[in-house]
């Protein structure tokens, strides 16, 4: 604008001046409409589901860990009727305070334990995103119930955890990175009509979009937490510890809260002052910084440092961890996806080769499921009927074995099949991480191999199968050795019959 005025002063043509005036007029005329459009977009323009999914996973882990470490060991001392808080005292409080709890008046210890177990199971469902909305509702209701029963033994972490579950309940938190999402995507899978897979017919991997209103409410909630904490810290009725810079010193000397004795970790006074002022600046600045896209990463990094500091110095439960669960909601969908991909890309570029039967409907569906879970893009696929590629990647592996089970070549060259192949893939598929340790439990591999073989043997009975290729598989499953030329002929005939021999995938990557 200044430049424009300088130019005007130095001499501007009438046309230029007119254009500039028109631009300014239209800017001011359009401002209300532009602002309104921005507000409407903020509340209605769909956003990607991954940040909310990440928040769901982190929240489920935190609430689960909090319950297992601070509630389970204290059930008898705090929640049972003969503990420190009798049931009738809790009931009186709930009556006065307008509180709700399914544990109100419950004195039976087995009943309390049963509710606790149900709560933990619901949190596992939230974690995996299975019947997510219902699971979130149950988890929230039980978190509320356990909290209200011991209202006097709660802290900010319990409140934040309860809020997280409430917001997850009202939002489509299972839209991505969940079993629900996997099931939904699998339902969109259509088997190729010609009987084998062609890359062109594979369903596109579009990002999942959700309505933004619940995400906005969550963002506003955390902004309110910081802003109100910041404003209340500026209480000027007394000498203000934050303005004098002594607040952190007093907090670190509170022997009823601190993790370590102050004498063991004596923060110098200049550092206490810096941290006290920094706290105020951060809490009051967060709402503004997080709204400016360019500054948002810095606000979040500062927040992480702030909460790590609190966690390291004060033993106040799960406040910091729970609050950090909100942070992914401020990230963009592609950033969260990149982060998830980075987690599983320890060995960049090293891919797992998955060899599957493009003629087998169950295998194609399984492969589609693998694609959905492969956030790090660590898997590449081979058609087992492409004998040249198979000879190159899996030399010496007979066709008959490839027909019997899914084969995986790890980056190190190790070849595994069936259950063991899925187990090796689970290392690079974050969705399977929660079950990965179970796959190594004694006895589980034996059962897993048996189940896999039973499913593999019967896979053509599970789906409609009326072409020659199915017969080929039945032959393969009943014989140890097969005539490779005969197999090649049957496969070729099937492709020709489908009229798509030109499209046949040499490498279905």
């Amino acid at each position: 604008m200044l430049r424009h005025w300088q130019r005007t002063a130095s001499g501007m043509s009438t046309d230029e001046l007119q254009t500039m005036t028109n631009e300014a007029t239209s800017f001011w005329r359009d401002l209300p409409r532009t602002a309104w459009r921005a507000v409407v977009d903020f509340w209605t323009k769909p956003v990607r589901a991954e940040p909310l999914a990440m928040m769901r996973i982190l929240a489920a882990i935190c609430v689960l860990a909090s319950a297992l470490t601070s509630i389970a060991p204290n059930l008898s001392a705090l929640w049972f009727d003969d503990g420190l808080i009798p049931a009738d005292v809790a009931s009186q409080y709930m009556g006065h305070g307008g509180r709700f709890s399914v544990l109100n008046g419950v004195t039976s210890q087995p009943a309390i334990i049963a509710w606790f177990v149900l709560w933990m199971v619901s949190l596992l469902f939230v974690l995996f995103g299975c019947f997510t909305r219902t699971a979130c509702a149950v988890a929230w209701l039980l978190a509320l119930s356990f909290n209200m029963r011991v209202f006097w033994a709660l802290n900010g972490g319990d409140d934040v955890g309860l809020h997280l579950l409430f917001y997850l309940m009202i939002s489509p938190s299972g839209a991505a990175w969940s079993i629900d999402a996997l099931r939904r995507r699998l339902r969109t899978y259509r088997d190729p009509p010609q009987g084998f897979e062609s890359p062109a017919l594979r369903p596109a991997m579009e990002p999942v979009l959700i309505p933004p209103w619940s995400v906005r409410l969550i963002q506003i909630q955390l902004i309110a937490v910081y802003l109100l904490n910041g404003i209340n810290k500026l209480n000027l009725e007394h000498t203000n510890d934050y303005l004098t810079g002594e607040a952190v010193y007093w907090a670190l000397n509170d022997v009823s809260l601190t993790r370590f004795a102050y004498d063991m970790v004596p923060f110098p006074m200049w550092l206490c002052r810096l941290l006290s002022w920094g706290t105020i600046v951060f809490e009051l600045g967060f709402p503004i910084l997080v709204l400016i896209p360019r500054l948002r990463p810095w606000a979040l990094v500062a927040g992480v440092l702030f909460h790590v500091g609190i966690f390291a110095t004060l033993e106040i439960g799960w406040f910091s961890q729970m609050t950090l669960c909100y942070y992914p909601i401020y990230l963009k969908g592609h950033a969260v996806e990149r982060f998830a991909a980075w987690l599983v890309r320890a060995k960049r570029g090293k891919k797992y080769i998955v060899c599957y039967d493009t003629f087998c409907p169950v295998c194609r569906r399984s492969k589609f499921a693998l694609e959905l879970m492969d956030v790090g893009r660590r898997l590449t696929y081979r058609d087992i009927h492409d004998r040249a590629a198979m000879e190159r990647d899996l030399p010496g592996v007979p066709y008959a074995r490839a027909l019997k089970e899914l084969l995986v070549v790890a980056p190190g060259g190790k070849i595994t099949g069936g259950f063991d192949a899925f187990r090796s893939l689970a290392w690079v598929l974050p969705a399977l991480w929660p079950v990965l340790p179970l796959m190594y439990l004694p006895g589980v591999p034996i059962i897993g191999r048996w189940v896999y073989q039973a499913v593999a043997r019967n896979r053509y009975r599970l789906v409609k199968c009326d072409d020659g290729v199915c017969n080929l598989h039945l032959m393969a499953l009943s014989k140890q050795t097969l005539n490779e030329d005969e197999i090649a002929k049957v496969v070729q005939r099937a492709r020709e019959a489908a009229g798509a021999s030109q499209e046949a995938p040499a490498n279905a990557t």
């Binding site: 509340w43 470490t69 601070s70 204290n74 001392a77 705090l78 420190l84 808080i85 009798p86 005292v89 307008g98 509180r99 709700f100 978190a143 509320l144 011991v150 006097w152 033994a153 802290n155 409140d159 309860l162 809020h163 409430f166 009202i170 309505p211 209103w213 906005r216 409410l217 506003i220 309110a224 937490v225 109100l228 904490n229 209340n232 810290k233 209480n235 007394h238 000498t239 510890d241 934050y242 002594e246 607040a247 007093w250 907090a251 000397n253 022997v255 009823s256 809260l257 601190t258 993790r259 370590f260 004795a261 102050y262 004498d263 063991m264 006074m269 033993e315 106040i316 439960g317 406040f319």
Partner: protein, 185 residues
């Protein structure tokens, strides 16, 4: 389902979402601004308490505590002697301790020693706390033949040193008696 009904349902859903969002935003503003009136408490207040959406954030607000309170029990025995039992959460040495857990018990103990003991409906909690201290004393002194007859809840405040001064390992707390209970078998 006909397109018309589908459109009507979609619009109704949008309207419900809009109303909920407006309501929730109003709730966030009114509760955090601590605006009180009968009407607000009857609507927003109930929404907050029934759903557990407690707001009013003010953690570590100024002024911060200058002393750290811990409960203790003074047990009186049938022979006239007394003994003090301190909280397991009270560090034995203020200059050397580390904690990994226990915040929930500390939170409850902190609450119990800071409440007004006249709020009678909470008295059973104070009694239970004291009984737990007596039970602990009995576990720690299995051979002691004395019989506890009374227990008094004490509040022990440890004053924090001002900046520049060190903690004593075992500072003398300011002790206040809160409430006494007679013990029965």
């Amino acid at each position: 389902m006909s397109p018309l009904i589908r459109t009507i349902l979609r619009r109704l859903r949008s309207a419900a979402v809009l109303l909920f969002v407006l309501w929730h935003l109003t709730f966030l503003v009114l509760t955090n601004a601590t605006i009180h009136s009968e009407a607000i408490d009857a609507t927003v207040g109930k929404y907050e308490s029934y759903l557990g959406l407690d707001q009013r954030w003010g953690m570590f607000s100024s002024p911060l505590w200058r002393s750290a309170p811990f409960p203790a029990a003074r047990i009186a025995f049938d022979d006239g002697s007394t003994e003090e039992v301190s909280s397991t959460n009270e560090p034995a040495d203020m200059t050397r301790y580390a904690r990994l857990s226990g915040w929930r018990q500390r939170k409850l103990e902190h609450y119990l020693i800071t409440i007004d003991v006249e709020r009678t409906y909470q008295e059973p909690m104070l009694r239970r706390l004291m009984e737990s201290y007596v039970a602990r004393w009995k576990r720690e002194h299995p051979g002691d033949v004395r019989k506890p007859v009374r227990v008094t809840l004490l509040r022990r405040d440890f004053t924090m040193p001002v900046p520049g001064e060190p903690w004593e390992a075992k500072p003398t707390p300011v002790t206040t008696e809160k409430i006494t209970f007679k013990l029965t078998e």
